[in-house]
């Protein structure tokens, strides 16, 4: 079984978000980039576990991004994985990203494609299901556990107000979230090994973007908190009723 893990780079969770060029460009100055947590903690680690248990024969990592994405993909390789692929193009149109991943995956016969439930920058949660459609594969979203026996995957996933257990014959695309695996910390051996692992740069396929971000806006600041005395909970309830109109 060959696994492809989709890795995106995102601003650190605590990064200060700011925009430039009249609010049309995300200002990356001073921003540290990390592996998208869902991709790192869950998708990648589960893929590595499947290889360690002998269920998978190869784990490849793929990222769609320019050269500035390389430190992050190397960091992912330090956790594990046999090789990485960087598709040398950048976009914030989820369709374009998915089309690039699908284009590469189509030619390399993966049995399992793992991605995160969403990237914490653009919060689309779309790339995985798009890749599935473009590869004509089945898709299971929001996995909280993944088991593979032979060519059958059994997946627990979140649904509205509960949980569902699904099974599906491979090939399959799965988006991962909490529960799928426990986060790992790269060790020195992994970091050294990552330096010599193959990182192939592939030119992007010809894909026409169908959406683009044309502007950004910061949320209006809260007008300030209204403090209420601990002895006056009736007042709080009244405010929630007549001012906030939420009860």
């Amino acid at each position: 079984m060959k696994i492809l893990v989709c890795i995106s780079q995102v601003p650190d969770t605590t990064a200060k978000i700011a925009f430039s060029d009249n609010n049309t460009t995300f200002n990356t100055q001073g921003v540290t980039f990390i592996i998208n947590p869902y991709d790192e903690w869950y998708a990648l680690v589960r893929a590595l576990e499947l290889k360690e248990s002998g269920a998978a024969t190869a784990v490849h990592l793929i990222t769609v991004g320019k050269a500035d994405a390389e430190p992050v993909i190397r960091k992912a390789l330090a956790l594990g994985g046999d090789e990485a692929i960087r598709i040398d193009t950048d976009s914030n149109d989820p369709y374009s990203i998915a089309a690039q991943i699908a284009d590469y995956a189509k030619a390399h016969n993966y049995d399992l494609v793992l991605c995160g439930k969403e990237s914490i920058d653009y919060n689309n949660g779309s790339v995985g299901a798009m890749v599935a459609e473009l590869l004509d594969m089945n898709f299971i979203g929001f996995a909280a556990s993944i088991d593979i026996a032979g060519n059958v995957a059994t997946v627990k996933r979140e649904i509205d107000g509960g949980e569902e257990t699904d099974s599906c014959v491979l090939p399959l695309v799965i988006s991962c979230q909490k529960g799928v695996a426990e986060a790992r910390i790269p060790n020195m051996r992994g970091i050294m090994a990552a330096r010599t692992k193959p990182l192939t740069v592939v030119a992007g396929a010809a894909v026409t973007a169908v959406s683009s971000i044309t502007a950004y806006e910061m949320p209006a600041p809260k007008s300030g908190v209204k403090m209420i005395s601990a002895d006056n909970m009736d007042e709080l309830v009244q405010l929630l009723h007549s001012e906030a109109k939420v009860i």
């Binding site: 998915a98 890749v131 979140e158 509205d160 908190v225 309830v237």
Partner: protein, 324 residues
């Protein structure tokens, strides 16, 4: 035409789907067109007609016993069939567990631009530009869709649901589904019965490490019960198994946008805020005046949660009694 995917639970349309139909009808009016809702599986004729009161002129209904189990492939196929039948220019679903699996498939198949998690109506004066959350609620982006067909998944609980008048006509639709579209088999479904699903709750009471231990959760649960609210928690609380994992909200947990979020003994770390900062009103109860959550709050109460929360529960009880 605008087609919109409507979800139901045991034959009753979900409130967030009524919201999606209203959202579609608002856009349809502006574009000078109509709304066709797409329903799947076991729903009665009268339930489907009732979508007329939310702005749908027509409902396309695909019945197929296999659709009772969710399959993103099959659902997407039905949506695409409906879009083609209606020559739809705009296709709408929800940004929930169903929509996040279906709408990207529809968009990819039709090579249509997708706005994932819309929180505003399309601005047609600027091409077709829709506002959405980015950076986990720290900012908004305006996404301009340039393809001829547009796909939108609407963030639930963004617009109020108001019932109007009217009945929709119902038409059966054959979508050419095959066994191949149902390769994902559902083996088991477990739902917390009776409780309000967190993702759909309008009122949420949430607790953090400040509550000290699971043995203290009854004070929070009493408040939630009195309010008719769902319960949530911060990540360390779920990690310590004080509460089930499904309740964990934030960057790595669920994202919720209730009308009211009451945070009890939660410091308000940025990763926690990422999951809840779309809430319309935030109440923070914390004993530390420097807790960062107060900066994101509308109302704050300073003090020991174990004393304040029971008082709040009493006040809600009194209020509820006065309303009846």
């Amino acid at each position: 035409m605008i087609v919109v995917l409507v979800e139901h639970s045991q034959g009753v349309f979900k409130k967030k789907s009524l919201e999606a139909v209203l959202y579609a009808s608002h856009i349809a009016k502006e574009m000078g067109t109509g709304v066709t809702a797409v329903a799947m599986g076991n729903v009665t004729e009268s339930e489907m007609q009732s979508l007329g009161a939310y702005g749908a002129q027509k409902v396309l209904h695909t019945t197929d016993a296999r659709l009772d189990n969710f399959s993103s492939k099959a659902y997407a196929k039905v949506m695409i069939a409906a879009a083609q039948k209606e020559s739809a220019k705009v296709i709408i679903g929800l940004h929930d567990t169903t929509g996040k699996a279906v709408m990207p498939r529809v968009a990819a198949r039709l090579q249509a631009g997708l706005v994932a998690g819309a929180v505003g109506y399309p601005d047609l004066s600027k091409g077709f530009t829709v506002k959405k959350n980015v950076f986990s609620g720290k900012a908004f982006a305006f996404v301009t869709v340039t393809s001829d067909t547009k796909v939108i998944s609407l963030m639930p609980n963004t617009f109020p649901v108001v019932k109007g008048e009217g009945a929709a006509t119902v038409e059966q639709m054959e979508a050419g589904l095959t066994d191949n579209d149902f390769a994902v088999k559902v083996l088991e479904v477990s739902k917390a019965s009776g409780a309000i699903p967190l993702s759909e709750a309008e009122l949420v009471v949430s607790g953090g490490r400040g509550l000290k231990g699971p043995e203290n959760w009854h004070v929070l649960e009493d408040l939630a019960k009195e309010l008719g609210a769902a319960t949530a928690c911060s990540r360390p609380v779920a990690d310590a198994h004080w509460r089930p994992h499904g309740e964990h909200v934030g960057q790595t947990g669920g994202t919720i946008r209730p009308n009211l979020y009451i945070a009890i003994g939660i410091s308000g770390a940025i990763q926690h805020l990422a999951g809840v900062n779309g809430s319309k009103t935030i109440v923070v109860i914390n004993k530390d005046p420097e807790a960062p959550f107060f900066k994101a709050a509308d109302y704050g109460v300073l003090g020991d949660a174990m004393e304040i929360v029971p008082k709040l529960t009493e006040a809600v009880k009194k209020f509820n009694a006065s309303q009846n």
